[in-house]
């Protein structure tokens, strides 16, 4: 802790304050790391977040590019000869198409190339390069293209879209939905809850009764109702989800305000001259924000599942936009014919992300709450 002489300087003050901030942060992180499940959850979530941010860099393919030839290609460990043949055929086709755009090729030559295997074709192209008809760097890019097309680790869906790329891009949608919905509804809930909890009166009664009304409907049914009325799509889904989500935050914050308001440090603040706004924001809010954080974290997982459910039902994000829910929607008829990978991988992604979020949320609850009860 900083030692200060009686005449403080602004630098000392700044240093002391930042030291407090850092020590709080570091003790929080230390506790997070010590809590096994929370830490695991946090790590996994970080991986997902990074994947979402760097999706363009790490995905092998454009998630919406259809390669009908590769329709229902199994993941790499489950391929048979027919699949491999298909793969090679598609790769060759694309390389040749690209080649056709780079240089002039007559039809016979093209036909001959088509019949060759991939290796032979590459060798042939090498000859062209030596002949000077093809740039060296074009050759390299064609080779890369060929290799790239062959890479579909998790296989493809019915439309020939690469599953891995779609799952990774789908992370963006899911995280975006989780963050937006939770963020906005938490904000609404906190503001309304603070006012209702602190001032009570007609405002509190009005909002509370409205909440009671909303809570009478099961969440999913309600969201479906709204989306059916408003039509599908990303923005509408967000609206539908927020419409009911804020209620939970409202009730939480209102309840906490009711109980904190009776505590003596609030009276002390009043006697010290704090106006009501300052009391709400600077005295009470910091004491309850931890419960809001925990609730928000847990709700994020729930929102992702909601999105998946809505997309699965055909509302929500429309194909071919990669969203996990709609991927399951598209793939659901394949299971009957034994094609399991189109639903399993997006499903696994949902499972892992939501589980990690829940682990983190529960861990946060353990970390943030009892610490305050230290006496």
């Amino acid at each position: 802790m900083g030692e200060l002489s009686i005449t403080a300087s602004s630098m000392d003050l700044y240093k002391a304050k930042s030291r407090i901030l850092l020590s709080n942060l570091s003790s929080f992180l230390r506790e997070l790391v010590a809590h096994r499940s929370a830490f695991l959850g946090a790590v996994v979530i970080t991986i997902f977040v990074l994947a979402a941010i760097f999706a363009p860099q790490i995905t092998p393919h454009d998630p919406t590019k259809q390669r009908l030839q590769l329709s229902l290609l199994p993941p790499f460990w489950a391929r048979d000869e027919g699949d491999l043949a298909r793969l090679e055929k598609q790769a060759k086709r694309e390389v040749l198409k690209e080649l056709g755009e780079l240089i002039e090729i007559d039809k016979d030559y093209l036909t001959r190339l088509e019949v060759m295997s991939m290796q032979e074709m590459i060798a042939e192209l090498g000859k062209l390069t030596e002949q000077g008809r093809l740039d060296r760097k074009d050759l390299l890019s064609l080779k890369d293209l060929g290799k790239k097309v062959m890479v579909h680790p998790l296989g493809c869906d019915r439309m020939g879209m690469d599953l891995l790329s779609r799952v990774i891009y789908g992370t963006r949608i899911s995280l975006l939905i989780g963050i937006l919905v939770v963020g906005i509804s938490a904000f609404i809930g906190v503001v309304l809850g603070a006012i209702a909890g602190y001032y009570r009166g007609w405002f509190d009664n009005l909002i509370s009764r409205f909440c009671d009304l909303l809570l009478a409907f099961p969440y999913l049914i309600f969201a479906i109702l709204i989306m059916v009325m408003m039509g599908g799509g990303f923005m509408n889904m967000i609206f539908a989800l927020i419409f009911k989500a804020w209620v939970e935050f409202f009730r939480l914050v209102r309840g906490e305000f009711l109980s904190e308001k009776t505590k003596e440090y609030i009276d002390a603040a009043r006697v010290a001259g704090q106006n009501r706004f300052k009391i709400i924001v600077f005295e009470i809010l910091p004491n309850i924000i931890h419960s809001v954080i925990v609730l928000a974290t847990l709700r994020m997982g729930y929102m992702i599942i909601m999105e998946a459910s809505l997309s699965y039902l055909g509302l929500g994000v429309a194909p071919p936009t990669p969203a996990w829910g709609s991927m399951v929607y598209l793939g659901k008829q394949d299971i009957i014919t034994g094609i399991w990978w189109t639903v399993t991988f997006p499903g696994l992604a949902i499972l892992i992300l939501v589980l990690s979020i829940n682990l983190l949320g529960e861990g946060l609850h353990d970390i943030l709450d009892p610490r305050l009860k230290v006496n």
Partner: protein, 341 residues
């Protein structure tokens, strides 16, 4: 100094610092709509039911009574934490009932409170620096450096070390937290402090420390105290005058020594005889029968008559006595001591 201002300050000097007239604080507990349908009416809890008092400058007025007598409520009404249902409050001769905004802030500067519970009266999420800075900011001290110096000076004044400025309340013991509360109260440079059971939840040895601290500060800063407590030994030690409360009314008030040597009201007598003492002499203890009626039951006549062992007669059940002087600043609210014309 102009003659007007001079006259005003002279006048002020003669006035009591705090004066309250006929203060009543009633809490109305409304039953739910459903209960109302069955005939339940509003319940009126008369926490404070007609109190008039004067507190002189630099004195310590002790306010003693048992739970439910209304002493805590009275302390908060005086500080405008509750609005009185009836009655007037004067501070330095000026009525403060209607104050709002800046004028209210001015009043807050001069009148502060120290709470009972050292654990609940400090915001657990704030550092000591932030806690004490709040009143400093509201006083107008905007420069963070000046504030920092002031906080350090206050910590020193209450006997805490400088390095505590960065700590959080949960890192302190009960006695230390009370010191922080005291430092916070002093931050506004008040003239009047309500000490609401400030030492009641502390261990005996720590209690002594805080009492001594409060005495020292009173001398140093020329403070006036309203000391609220249920502990009679403490009240004897700290107060110049003592007021005894029962069921929302003052039943007796006198200078400390006079009250303890010569208690008049039956309740005061019972109260004083109930104190367990380390002193060796055998004491005849007055055991009161029955329990304290709640401030919800509205009894006619004297509020104490259901437990009184010195009843005068029927009059105690029908007429309410008034607080009347018996000489030398000693006032009693009892039919036994009122001369009727």
């Amino acid at each position: 100094m102009s003659s007007e201002v001079k006259a005003k300050t002279e006048k002020q000097a003669k006035l009591p610092l705090v004066k309250i007239e006929g203060i009543k604080k009633h809490f109305i507990m409304s039953p739910s709509l459903l209960a109302r349908a069955f005939g339940n009416r509003d319940i009126i809890l008369k926490a404070v039911d007609g109190v008039s008092l004067e507190i002189k400058k630099d004195e310590t007025l002790g306010l003693v009574g048992e739970s439910g007598c209304g002493k805590t409520t009275l302390g908060r009404v005086i500080l405008k934490l509750y609005e009185p249902t009836e009655g007037k409050i004067f501070f330095k001769g000026e009525a403060i009932n209607q104050l709002t905004g800046d004028a209210l802030m001015q009043f807050r500067h001069k009148a502060q409170i120290i709470f009972q519970n050292p654990y609940a009266s400090l915001n657990p999420r704030k550092t000591v620096r932030n806690i004490i800075s709040v009143p400093l900011k509201n006083r107008g001290l905007m420069n963070p450096i000046e504030r920092e110096e002031e906080v350090l000076a206050l910590l020193k004044a209450v006997g805490l070390s400088e390095r505590h400025i960065n700590s959080y309340p949960h890192q302190f013991s009960g006695g230390q937290r009370q010191r922080i509360s005291i430092a916070r109260a002093l931050a506004m440079r008040p003239k009047f402090i309500v000490a609401d059971e400030s030492v009641s939840s502390l261990d005996v040895s720590i209690q002594a420390q805080i009492i001594n601290l409060l005495e020292k500060l009173q001398e140093e800063y020329r403070l006036t105290y309203l000391f609220i407590t249920h502990d009679l030994s403490v009240i004897f030690y700290v107060s110049d005058r003592v007021a005894v409360m029962y069921l929302g009314k003052i039943v007796e008030i006198a200078e400390t020594m006079e009250l303890f040597e010569n208690p008049l009201h039956p309740y005061t007598r019972a109260l004083l005889s109930a104190i367990p003492t380390v002193a060796s002499q055998e004491k005849k203890r007055i055991i009161l029968k029955g329990t304290v009626p709640t401030p919800i039951d509205s009894t006619k006549g004297c509020g104490f008559h259901t437990r009184c062992f010195m009843k005068k007669g029927k009059i105690c059940e029908t007429d309410e006595p008034v607080l009347a002087s018996t000489g030398g600043g000693h006032c009693v609210c009892c039919h036994l001591f009122q001369s009727y014309v």
